[in-house]
Amino acid sequence: MADRQTRTPALQARTPAQELLDALGPVERFHDTEEVGAFGLPSGRVTEDMLAGGDETTAATRFGPLQKIHVFWFAGMSCDGCSVAVTGATSPSVESMLLGAHPGLPRVVLHHPVLNMESGPHYVRAAEQAMAGTLNAPYAVVLEGSISDELAAYATGGYWSGQGEEPWGPDGEMRPVTASEWIARLAPNAAAMIAIGTCATWGGIPSAEGNPTGAMSLMDWLGKDYRSTFGVPVVNVPGCPPIGDNFTETVAAILYFLQGFGPLPEFDELGRPAWLFGETVHRHCVRGAYYEEGTFAQEFGDPECLVEVGCWGPVVNCNITSRGMINHVGGCMNAGGPCIGCTMPGFPDKFTPFYKRPPGSFASTTVSRMVGSVIRPLRKFSNNHLNREVRWDRQGATPSGFGREKAEPSALAEINHKFYDMLRRSGDRGKAKADVWGKRDEAPSGGSPNPRI
């Protein structure tokens, strides 16, 4: 038992998913539709049919071969935070994808427990059809939450994470079906398997040290050799929660590619969208320049770089500081939250205890403090100069009613600025000797030669 979780994938003859299916055996039957009747179908139709209006397209506007694709969303050991994050997405938004508001996008039929109209057996009907090979279009599977080690619970007659029931008991009686089992059964014929959020991509909090459920990621569950029917390994969009747009954009990018007009989306060696996770979050951090200048927040709430109050941003792959959390608003460090590495395979156990500076930051903050102690005064000096109109320089006074406290620059500073300006204007083609014949001689730049004060 403990062995199965700890031994290396290379030694594993079968994937954990295959082990579960071996233990559960094949399935032969599904819900009896006549017996079920309309139970759980209050709108009379499943969501797919309710939204079917206007989805007829010609090959010309469809751009490619896909008319429709089913997306099965399963929640394993999840907090539903990924679903919530996706409902916040705006580019594209989930409703615009479902209503086909994007040219070339195939119709996305989403089977999601939080959104669908039908409950109970009617909700799982499409997944049954996908297993039986009778679904009317290709399908992709999205997993939110970790995979639980259901073999452990199954042996005592129970489950950790159930979703729906099927007549798959030994004598055809109903038994709960777990998210893990659905995934294992649907993966072989899926067009794509997408893990959303850090639980599904890397195990996340449910797989943290001391967990009782044997939780693991989708990659760990399906194994290194898994390929979808389109030849793609598991795609990973991490984050706890992920940025909703990171997910919807990735799905859209894959669909644009499949329709033949989008470029092949690039994934990194862990299956992350490379264009979203290729950089560390520090590189686009709004506070990054404080690091460069060697000034650091010491108390919670301070405006400077957060590394000394526990920020791991310089070594974490994420794009939240540039993309924001929702509608380009927010972002952890933007608001004052130190990065705790929630997009990373090492989360959470390689980042705890929280609110404590990463030990690796001592060397680099010392260096940046040293460099910063030189850079900062120089920048301040130039900044003071640039905060003056040319006119003020000329007249030797600053007419600000807010009472500029600092005195006018000293003679030494003036000389320095003159020298600096000389350096700046070296190579300025405006100093060439050509006759400016297109205009009359006016006052020199900077206003009237005799300003009225």
Binding site: E19, E34, G157, G158, G204, C332, I340, K356
Partner: protein, 633 residues
């Protein structure tokens, strides 16, 4: 104050003692509540009916969709007499978050506990922070508490419309009503909405069409407004649903003037929207009650509710258990327990010592302890109290007589109580203890609100305590709670501006190094009393030698989704379903959709992710269970 069931007495100062001379005073066979129907009587009645009625169906709705998380509801329905004879609520997911927390540094609790639920986002992070602060004796500076209130009020601004329009709303939409109750449709077409001038829908049919999923105007607008409120949250927290800014002793938000102004700029739109929301959810019950007064019984259960209060007074909150009754009663939303419509107490200690959790019908092994005989103030505690609880997960087969769910059974004074965001209105209105506000008044039987002007004008509205708590009143209450929470957001923003004006910038009590040094070595117990989109939320913490030795989360949906208790009292969902008449049209039993049950269940806004990982014990015990389970491996 007195308990009805537990043998506990209170002196004039409110100090509690155990009534003397009772051996095993907390034993389930000793202190017993009055129970209406026992399980045996219920089963016998069903069997009697079964014998002479062919229209009784045993049906399992798994999964129930348009709720958060994984849940199934099993019903026995009598289609001839149009009644739900029996009902079992089944939480079908377990994740073990507290197990993961136990044995860790207390500084891990906020970020780990936050992940207990991604629907009510920041609430667990905050509850964890309150528990740690109380255990460690850290008092946040006023601005820290104000930022938390602003965050959590904005959070409700996302949570309530999400439920009303994405989850519950479709049950009242054109597409559903035309199918389940076609006789109502012509009525809806002819019925002029009394609030048409506010929400803009001339007839109920127009309104119902706007509730259609994805294509309806109200559905789409609801989704958009959840985004606007989430923008308000992430201005302060950086991230949603899991905030990045909650620290023990305050927050780490860099509270710039820009952040305050951006927050303010979004509030105006929200007040306009709140007016439309209340108008919609006032018209829906009026229409249904007029169409058939039996809709009053959809999801009905007696007025037994509980709430620990929400949104602290930044100048009163000091994080201590000793003063919790004083600062608790100064919350914007007053703590309280209502039994049979009567407000029994507003004291947090009374709420705490009456609290017990049972696992008779849940997939856990029993392991109550007597580790803490009293709370830190000397009030007696039950062995089933969360501080004494060490419940061990044990997956097993479903058996209605034995164990059938991952949720456990919380009870107060062994009574079945309900939690909801609307409970905040109920407690605050009846207690009349809320702080002075120019926008909100508690009258004893209602809450009066002044909606500040946005694009539409200022307006006064009133929420009255309903005579019968049913599905429609829960949804109506949720719409008014939306306004309540947004007015708290405004009051808190004004406090933040005021503090900012006075030069106050400190948002946390300790810096990271001081925090590390402040972790105590001795044993401490504490509780974080907070709220979620669905009401009640508590985190009970025990720490020793600087680490977490017990951690117990109790969420509103744990309370509401609870199974039978040791005395056969059904949980709130189960009770509400059994009270629900079947009013849908059927020409044949196969037409039965069970919409009335779904309306009853969804009106509670079930949120299962954080319901079902609660109450777990030491991980190694589970490992033993599992070792024998895996055969050869």
């Amino acid at each position: 104050m007195c308990f009805k069931t537990l043998p506990v007495e209170f002196d004039e100062r409110g100090q509690a003692t155990l009534r003397g001379g009772i051996p095993n005073p907390y034993d389930v066979t000793v202190a017993k509540p009055d129970v209406g129907t026992t399980e045996e009587e219920r089963t016998a009645r069903i069997e009697r009916l079964m014998a002479r009625n062919g229209h009784i169906k045993d049906l399992n709705m798994d999964p129930v969709t348009r709720i958060a998380g994984a849940m199934a509801v099993h019903v026995t329905a009598d289609l001839e007499n149009r009644a739900y004879l029996d009902s079992h609520a089944v939480a079908t997911l377990f994740r073990g978050y507290e197990v993961i927390l136990m044995g860790r540094d207390p500084r891990d609790a906020i970020f780990v506990a936050s992940r207990a639920c991604g629907v009510c986002g920041g609430v667990h992070a905050h509850a964890a922070a309150y528990a740690i602060e109380s255990a460690m004796g850290i008092t946040p500076p006023p601005l820290g508490t104000v930022v938390r209130n602003m965050t959590e009020a904005a959070e409700m601004g996302y949570d309530n419309p999400l439920h009303l329009y994405l989850l519950a709303g479709p049950d009242y939409s054109e597409s559903v009503v035309k199918t389940t109750n076609p006789e109502l449709w012509p009525k809806a077409e002819a019925w002029s909405c009394p609030n048409a001038h506010i929400h803009g829908f001339a007839t109920m049919a127009d309104l119902m069409t706007a509730l259609n999923p994805l294509t309806g105007a109200l559905y789409r607008e609801g989704l958009e407004f959840t985004r606007l409120s989430r923008e308000m949250v992430v201005l302060l927290t950086g991230k949603y649903p899991h905030p990045e800014n909650v620290v023990p002793g305050g927050v780490s938000t860099t509270l710039t003037l820009q952040a305050l102004n951006e927050y303010h700029s979004r509030l105006g739109k929200i007040f306009d929207y709140a007016q439309r929301m209340m108008a919609v959810w006032d018209d829906i019950p009026t229409f249904f009650y007029e169409a058939d007064e039996r809709y009053q019984l959809t999801g009905y259960r007696p007025s037994n509710q509980i709430d620990p209060g929400y949104w602290d007074d930044p100048y009163a909150y000091d994080a201590t258990y000793a003063n919790c009754n004083a600062w608790g009663e100064k919350r914007w939303s007053t703590p309280g327990v209502v039994i049979g419509g009567e407000l029994l107490t507003t004291r947090l200690t009374d709420i705490n010592i009456g609290w017990e959790e049972f696992v008779e019908h849940s997939y856990y092994e029993e392991s109550s302890t007597t580790r803490f005989a009293t709370d830190p103030l000397g009030n007696p505690l039950s062995p089933y109290h969360p501080w004494n609880k060490r419940t061990l997960p044990k997956p097993g087969a479903k058996n209605w007589k034995d164990k059938y769910t991952w949720a456990c059974t919380p009870r107060w004074d062994r009574q079945v109580v309900e939690a909801g965001c609307y409970s905040r209105l109920l407690m605050t209105a009846t207690a009349q203890k809320m702080p002075e506000s120019r926008f909100m008044t508690a009258t004893g039987s209602s809450m009066r609100f002044v909606v500040p002007k946005g694009e539409t004008g200022e307006r006064e509205v009133e929420w009255r305590v309903p005579e019968k708590w049913n599905a429609f009143e829960r949804n109506r209450g949720r719409a008014y709670h939306y306004l309540f929470s947004q007015l708290v957001a405004l009051e808190s923003l004004l406090q933040a501006y005021d503090l900012h004006r006075r030069g106050e910038r400190r948002v946390a009590a300790l810096d990271p190094e001081e925090l590390e040094k402040a972790i105590p070595d001795d044993e401490r117990v504490s509780v974080g009393w907070w709220g979620a989109g669905r009401g009640w939320l508590t985190h009970h913490l025990v720490m020793d030698k600087g680490k977490i030795t017990n951690y117990q989360i109790c969420t509103p949906s744990t309370i509401n989704a609870s199974p039978r208790d040791p005395w056969d009292q059904p949980g709130p969902y189960e009770e509400a379903v059994m009270n629900t008449p079947i009013l849908e049209r059927m020409s044949d039993p196969s037409d039965f959709t069970s919409i009335d049950m779904l309306r009853a269940i969804r009106s509670f806004d079930p949120c299962m992710p954080c319901t079902t990982h609660v109450h777990t014990g030491a991980g190694e015990v589970v490992r033993e269970v599992n070792t024998c389970s895996c055969g050869g491996d």
